[in-house]
């Protein structure tokens, strides 16, 4: 080797080292952008009622955080509350310990303490942030997180952060959902009762629906008093002028609501989803799933009007509006009420008696075939309202697009990435996720297992993961992956769009794939409907050989806290106080287990006293089947000894027995309860509860092999109180009040 050559190498090395240094200087010179977020308990009044909420820097939603690609974000979160919190940066690519899932990736922010997040901004687009602690997101902890491209020209834009609001405490909402309350349906006018069914000619449909053990189907579970855009029912952006093309950064920051987006000023051009650009596509409307993000461009067509950009809740009970421009407010016709019985009819066809969904070989995917369309009057024609239009003699109306299919609705197959999104050429590993759950007990799972019931899914750095997601439940689920983009495989092949949330409709099968491009850590994949996530609908991906996370000093203990979310017990009760005595039960239950106490107490010895206490467990996937053990106590002064159906003599006067039993939910929600006590006595009981006769009137009846029977009715006054009357073979006729908790 010549000396010159050696010198040259030395020179090269020197330059390399130098440039390395320079490079790091550039890194240091990156713009650091700092924010301080102060989290406070607060009281709000949106409906005339004072209610507790959580505000960030005194506002709901929290402040918009603006960054430019390449910035270093330093965000100090000051928790000024006495309970803990967290903030997750939704859609951001960042180091695992900055992701903000308390106990899993990041230390929880304890009451009266400050936590600093620091991470480089590696992407651009529309994102948002929210609490990942319990149900705090429902009561105000969310805000927009906007990242601009470097040197991006300043164009008209506006952030549209949509949310849902209920005056009810979110923990109470959650408990009520687990109890399968129909109070929300009553509030929405969506009980789909027998009287209504009979009036509209759907009696057979309703019966078949209950026969298949389906409760009244709705597109969303919770009744919300208000929907907001940027915290307001009517938000105004009067700065825009005719001809402006305004980029609306639409973020669905709600806890559990999907929103339809429509615009009174013409078409909506979709230009981005979940922060990533897509090839612009023009539509009349689109639905934005919970936690999903769309960037859309709308044109202000006229100067003397304010045009309405509306977010209508999927159940269509309410909406929030943004007024673009100045002048008289140009309204958009609201989306008409859903035709629930048409939806029920469709569900009847799709659901097997065993409670599984079948897609009848239609290979549904990517929101292309929205089965809910049968419920949309604007597309399939009006049901009840048709008569009204007729007597207004607007027969020429029919020619004007009402029942026509001219409406273009966005679906995932219309999304195309502007650049190829193909993954590195490494082997794929395929996972199959079936989205499962049951509405009756509000249990939501993947492959019938909650987060706490399975191990984390190990992934190797650099490998490609393909997930085939099938939705076998009756609700749609917005599935969100932390810290990674996934490709939503559609007809655009190499140009399949990148997203971090995918809405999977019932019966659909979608394929998503991503490269395990992070370095380390645990990444959550979950349904972003808050109450579904909390009941266990998710999985945790964990990188093999991850280093210990300094924010989680005791990972085993911390993981238990994470798992505890879906293992919690919910209390419920139904207590009747009637003129002939008191009937009631109190239950404590979680995903799989239950404990209950039941009683029937007469006012005198001849009507008798009975109590039963059981603990039990649901055994099958659909939770129609449960087993229990417990004890019964009864006292009855009647002298005659009776024989039951099996010829066993009943010593009803005074009995204290231990028993075991099985419960099975027959079609039409007939609960059969077969038990045997330690004396060998057997009892089989049939009971049907809560037959919805009208919106508020419920009937029930039961009979057992001891020849005891009862039947009654309940008229629902408020969420907790009902009037009741019933006849009982032991206690006779009575009437009074029922407390339903």
């Amino acid at each position: 080797m010549t000396k010159e050559y050696k010198n040259m190498i030395r020179m090269k090395l020197f330059i390399t080292i130098l440039s390395f240094f320079l490079g790091s200087i550039v890194v240091i010179a990156q713009n650091t952008k700092e924010y301080d977020l102060y989290i406070n308990d607060t009281i709000v009044n949106y409906t005339g009622k004072q209610v507790k909420a959580i505000a960030i820097n005194g506002k709901i939603p929290g402040p918009q955080l603006d960054f430019t690609e390449g910035d270093i974000a330093v965000i100090r979160v000051h928790n000024k509350m006495h309970h803990e919190t967290s903030i997750h940066w939704h859609g951001l690519i960042l180091p695992n310990e900055q992701d903000g899932v308390p106990y899993l990736t990041t230390a929880p922010i304890k009451g009266m303490s400050t936590h600093t997040y620091t991470f480089p901004i590696k992407q651009s687009g529309t994102y948002w942030y929210h609490s990942h602690t319990m149900l705090q997101e429902q009561v105000g902890m969310y805000g927009a997180f906007i990242i601009h491209k470097k040197g991006e020209p300043k164009l008209p834009e506006y952030t549209v952060l949509i949310s849902d609001w209920s005056d009810e405490n979110p923990h109470e909402i959650e408990r009520s959902l687990h109890k399968a309350t129909d109070w929300y349906a009553i509030k929405k006018g969506a009980t789909q009762n027998y009287l209504e069914a009979a009036k509209e000619g759907y009696l057979g449909t309703k019966f078949k629906n209950e026969w298949k053990r389906m409760h009244a189907m709705d597109v969303s579970d919770v009744y919300y008093e208000r929907f907001f855009i940027n915290g307001k029912v009517d938000d105004e952006a009067s700065q825009f002028k005719a001809g402006d093309k305004v980029r609306l950064r639409v973020i669905n920051g709600s806890a559990s609501t999907y929103f339809w987006l429509t615009y009174s000023g013409g078409k909506i051009s979709v230009v981005g989803s979940d922060g990533e650009d897509v090839v612009p596509v023009e539509v009349d409307r689109l639905i934005v799933g919970t936690s999903e993000v769309y960037d859309v461009v709308v044109t202000i067509p006229d100067d003397n009007k304010a045009f309405e950009f509306i977010a209508t809740s999927e159940d269509r009970i309410g909406h929030a509006s943004l007024w673009l421009g100045q002048g008289v407010r140009q309204l958009k016709q609201p989306l008409p009420k859903l035709k629930y019985f048409e939806g029920m009819k469709m569900m009847n066809d799709m659901m097997t008696l065993g409670g599984n969904m079948k897609d009848m070989g239609m290979n549904m995917s990517l929101q292309k075939m929205d089965m809910n369309t049968v419920m949309y009057p604007e597309i399939t024609g009006k049901a009840g309202a048709a008569k009204e239009i007729m007597d207004m003699k607007h027969s020429e109306h029919s020619g004007h697009g009402k029942s026509d299919t001219g409406i273009v609705t966005l679906n995932y197959s219309m999304l195309k990435a502007p650049k190829k999104t193909t993954l590195p050429d490494v082997p794929f590993r395929t996972l199959k996720f079936e989205l499962t759950g049951n509405m009756n007990r509000y249990v939501w799972t993947i492959n019938d297992k909650a987060v706490s019931e399975v191990d984390k899914i190990l992934i190797k750095k650099g490998e490609n993961i393909r997930i085939i997601i099938t939705n076998n439940s009756m609700m749609r689920h917005p599935m969100h992956l932390h810290g990674h983009y996934f490709r939503v495989i559609n007809e655009h092949g190499e140009y399949s769009p990148l997203k971090n949330v995918i809405d999977v409709m019932p019966m659909e099968t979608d394929i998503i794939e991503f490269n395990a491009s992070e370095e380390y850590g645990d990444w959550f994949f979950h349904c972003h409907i808050l109450y579904h996530m909390m009941s266990g609908m998710g999985r945790i991906f964990t990188y093999e050989d991850s280093p210990p996370n300094p924010q989680i000093p005791d990972p085993e203990k911390a993981l238990k806290v994470v798992y505890n979310d879906d293992k919690r017990y919910y209390l419920s009760a139904e207590i009747g106080l009637e003129s002939n005595g008191s009937d009631g039960e109190i239950r404590l239950e979680n995903t799989k287990n239950f404990a209950e106490v039941e009683w029937r107490l007469g006012f005198n010895d001849s009507s008798g006293y009975e109590t039963e206490a059981h603990i039990g467990r649901y055994l099958d996937k659909k939770q129609f089947f449960a087993a229990y053990a417990g004890w019964d106590f009864r006292y009855h002064s009647s002298e005659e000894s009776e024989k039951n159906l099996f010829g066993q003599a009943s010593t009803q006067a005074k009995r204290a027995v231990a028993c075991v039993g099985l419960i099975y939910m027959l079609p039409w929600f007939v609960e059969t309860d077969l038990r045997v006590d330690h004396e060998g006595k057997t009892r089989l009981q049939f009971k049907r509860d809560d037959i919805p006769l009208t919106s508020r009137l419920r009937l029930w009846a039961s009979w057992n092999t001891d020849f005891e029977y009862s039947a009654g009715s309940r008229y629902i006054l408020t969420k907790y109180w009902s009037l009741s009357a019933h006849y009982d073979s032991d206690m006779g006729l009575g009437g009074g009040l029922v407390l339903t908790y």
Binding site: S264, L331, M392
Partner: protein, 283 residues
Amino acid sequence: MKTIKNILLMLSLLFVVTGCEGQIKNAKKETVKVYGNCGMCKKTIEKAANEKGVVKADWDIDSNMLTMTYDSAKTNPDAILKKVAYAGYDSDKFRAPDEAYDALHGCCQYDRPVKNTAKAESHDAHKGHDMAVSETKDVQGGLMDKVIASYFAVKDALVKSNGTAVATAAVELTKAIAAVPMDKMTKEQHTIWMKVLPAVKEDAEHIADTKDVKHQREHFTTLSANIYQVLKTFKTNEAVYYQKCPMFNDGKGANWLSKDKDIKNPYYGSAMLTCGSTVETLK
């Protein structure tokens, strides 16, 4: 005696519950301008604004002023004016959706205070529908030409769920069926045609006889199956697609024929327009 007491108790409770209706509480009154023309407008405006026990509205034809008496705890003038606008009537605050205004009766189409200055986007949604009626050519020397064409017309009308149009198209179909020149058929074709003729005729007549789309669709299932038989024997020059909807008929499924490869489901129309798949391509 005790029972009677109980019943009385229950009844009195019920009265407390139901006895809350009557006059408007927390009443406030406000008068604003709502644009309109005639007595029919008055009816529509007041109907849209009124809500039992909450809003009582009165619109004056001459002055165009709407007087609203409302329960201020339950609603507000903006909410009422919105409802009026949804029914087609402008106020100075809200402009009715154009489709609501256009839907008003001719005599009600008042002079709007704020006009559309921007060029209205043309509604080209209907474009192309009229062409849909088949230009099928040369189906075996034209023997089945008219039958197939009118079958497609029936199918297209079913896609639009327009019972009247279906019936009209089916009348043409019955005529076409009667006019098929049987003497020009081969023996095999004749056999098939004779076999399906009674059923095809009956279905076409039934479809023509009603405007009930549901009933029409029931007959369309068998009609389609038979026309398919016919097309198999008579052959077509142009591709015809045999398509299937898996849901119709309580999940038993039903088929139809189409000139378009793209699915446009005649059994559900717009409700499930793209539901279905092509099971066979006839050429």
